[in-house]
Symmetry: C2
Subunit: 453 residues, 2 copies
């Protein structure tokens, strides 16, 4: 079979169903709990915050395949399939016998994979008569995606952007505003949750957990307004499986099957998105594939966190979720990979990690930018700081192949480009970036605070 | 035929030849002249500055098809074909019966069409034993492309970036530096040309003409270093015909043929790139197609300039070129479309305009951003300020179709995305951008200065 550089699917071959791994998991994720009653949640309990169909998808543990609505598929066709790229340039730069492929989600109009779920969430909201949507955003990738998706389906969007990203990446704010969204730096004085946090710590630079609290509060207090989330939740990961489902067909076109699949890890949606469709073959057919989540060393919920029930947000507005967590009060260091600054992991990936079906590795900030710059020079694409973590992990595996002489097939998800993150690259090039060493006692301190949840 | 949203070519259908319209023109461009002797230039005269093969391509008026070297084709395969997109969203937003298509060059790794020529120029330099390349850049799109292409072929790159863009778009500088290039704001004190200009006007914000002078001077005074240019010249436009050649095949896949083709206009290379392959059918078969160059109202060489011999740069280092020009001393207003701030038009497009084979329209800055924001909301892609001019012209034509009820087919080139230009969008959204009214006497003043060239 002739090897090409890029593989695309014909429009008619773009998948028509998302893959719900919950249906195939032997040990299902434990249920989210009502924090007051400690009773398992039903979909109805989520309706006040989320669109009803999204609430049902969230807790669906029986249907392996969920049909993608036609309106969403029509929008997917504007940028999907995204290319599967053989990274010959990176292979050459590393001198590795490994075959490295990446799924290039950075070519979506808004520059990342986030649009895959934003379109779905905005569509279901519109269909159910919602007029306003609200959300949080870290680096701004999700906020930009939701802002555009809201515009597509005629909804108003209000976005709480983590303050550190709002300041580090002002252009993401401009992008959201260009799409017509209202953008507020979080923590803000516009919500009870924001006020409480600012009162305690006036200089707090924000976190995804805080911004989530603010957005949920706005959704709760605004008529006809629903909250949407860019990662962590199972329905978000469900929508992202379009990445892996396409990649599966494209790897077949390339005549190879991945030995190792890697995604960067914030809440788990891009990781799950690329891995889960392949993982079904591991679960059902015993296919030997390694799945590696690459998380920042400064926010290491998978490698150093604890598996237990915890809140998904800072203020404790969400249900209790069974997750690997650093504690919902954990304040991550101000790394530039804003999208990975989240204290917990989604319930599906948490269960999979607990069951040994996947691995996790932590990457320091400098290593991530080393990898990003090497990739940029080799492949011409400047990766998002988040995606740099996946690249770093892929490089580590490719180097191991060089050591061992093994010709492994490595696939990673290039979740987004870093063109709005050039200030971070600037600081890296100027030698002003640092690593962050996290002490065990600091982690333990936060975990102690949640041990009775 | 079923209408799709995006059309791609299979890797094996990507064109293997560039199209050289000079061979088919009835009235060939007049020759460049040696400014001292006023004698027509031969390719050898250009060898001190340009790679030899590029010098030959520049003056080639006989071969209609120039083979794309295999090494360049291999690199094209990493991002080509670029998609041809049916802009259903924009059509709907305008309520026009017109069918609007755009060729999306913004998906190239560096975000614009510029890579098409950068790869070719870097390749020929490398092949001829050159070790260093230098160039100018306005908005930074070309500089970023050349920086990456230099890295691909193992060359060192030094880029003079127009000062206004260097300051307005610091992230483009970071991108070039990430690819390993040296970047200097122009005018600089590092060249005679820069010093002379800064002595006369210490606050001069630079122009492409000035940056070209500086880069040429560096190439002349550095061993084994060649100059490269991002537009204007005929060999650059030649390389960009890959855009139109692909679009021609893709329009055929869509089952349509364009009535109107539009490109924004700085020096002419993206415009010529998309138009010339179609124009050959107008020249040879009398096909009725309108070709519209969209230039900024503040730098209107096509609509208000004069056709005559002029220098291509500020300092007068280049040959004399027969071009529509505003005079090489023309200092364009500080519009955000930095790539269009050039005083002259390439010799081919100048001849074609003179002969009535194409048209030109001028677009004010605010109109261009109005169009860009409408397009962003409708199609999800934030266009480069340069490309906004093409979009504005396309919208004008689509509105005319709405008036007349005609179902015309409009094709424009989306030459690049605007993700590094968000500061400009910020100012637009804040109401801080202005139009620039150019007085006839100011144009005449500059033209008087060059009337004896």
């Amino acid at each position: 079979m002739e090897k090409k550089k890029r593989y695309f699917l014909a429009e008619e071959d773009i998948p028509r169903y998302w893959y719900n791994i919950q249906a195939d998991m032997v040990n299902k994720p434990m249920p989210p709990l009502n924090p007051a009653t400690k009773q398992p949640l039903k979909p109805e309990d989520l309706y006040p915050i989320f669109a009803e169909e999204l609430s049902r998808q969230e807790l669906n543990q029986t249907d392996a395949w969920i049909e993608i609505p036609e309106e969403v598929r029509e929008m997917y066709k504007y940028y999907r399939s995204t290319p599967l790229v053989r990274a010959y340039g990176l292979e050459k730069a590393l001198g590795t016998p490994a075959h490295i492929y990446f799924k290039n989600e950075s070519v979506s109009p808004i520059g990342s994979h986030k649009l895959n779920s934003a379109l779905a969430q905005a569509y279901y909201c519109k269909k159910e008569g919602v007029t306003n949507v609200t959300t949080e955003t870290g680096a701004g990738q999700w906020g930009a995606a939701l802002s555009y998706a809201a515009k597509v389906f005629g909804l108003e969007a209000a976005v709480y952007q983590v303050k550190i990203s709002y300041e580090q990446k002002p252009y993401r704010r401009s992008i959201m505003q260009t799409f017509g969204a209202q953008v507020t730096a979080s923590p803000s004085m516009s919500t009870r949750a924001g006020k409480d946090i600012l009162t305690k710590n006036p200089n707090y630079q924000g976190s995804l957990g805080t911004a989530i609290s603010e957005a949920i509060e706005l959704a709760r207090t605004t008529p006809n307004c629903k909250y949407t989330l860019g990662s962590v939740l199972s329905h978000v990961t469900l929508h992202q499986t379009i990445i892996g489902l396409e990649a599966e067909k494209q790897m077949e076109m390339a005549g190879e099957y991945p030995d190792i699949i890697i995604g960067c890890f914030g809440g788990g949606s891009n990781f799950g998105g690329i891995c889960f469709p392949f993982m079904r073959h591991s679960i059902k057919e015993g296919k030997k594939t390694r799945y590696i989540a690459a998380e920042p060393a400064s926010c290491p919920k998978l490698t150093r966190g604890h598996f237990q029930y915890d809140f998904g947000d800072e203020a404790g507005y969400t249900p209790l979720l069974p997750m690997f967590t650093l504690g919902h009060n954990f304040a991550p260091a101000n790394i530039h990979a804003g999208g990975l600054r989240y204290h917990g992991a989604g319930v599906i990936v948490s269960q999979l990690l607990k069951d040994g079906l996947m691995e996790a590795t932590d990457i320091q900030q400098l290593e991530s930018f080393d990898a990003g710059c090497l990739f940029a020079k080799a492949e011409g694409i400047i990766p998002a700081p988040e995606s740099c973590h996946a690249i770093a992990a892929a490089i580590n595996e490719a180097k191991a192949c060089k050591e061992s002489g093994e010709e492994k097939v490595i696939l990673f998800n290039l979740s987004g480009h870093g063109l709005i993150d050039m200030a971070a690259y600037d600081q890296y090039l100027a030698g002003n970036l640092t690593n962050y060493e996290l002490k065990d006692e600091d982690i333990q301190h936060n975990l102690d605070e949640i041990k009775d949840l």
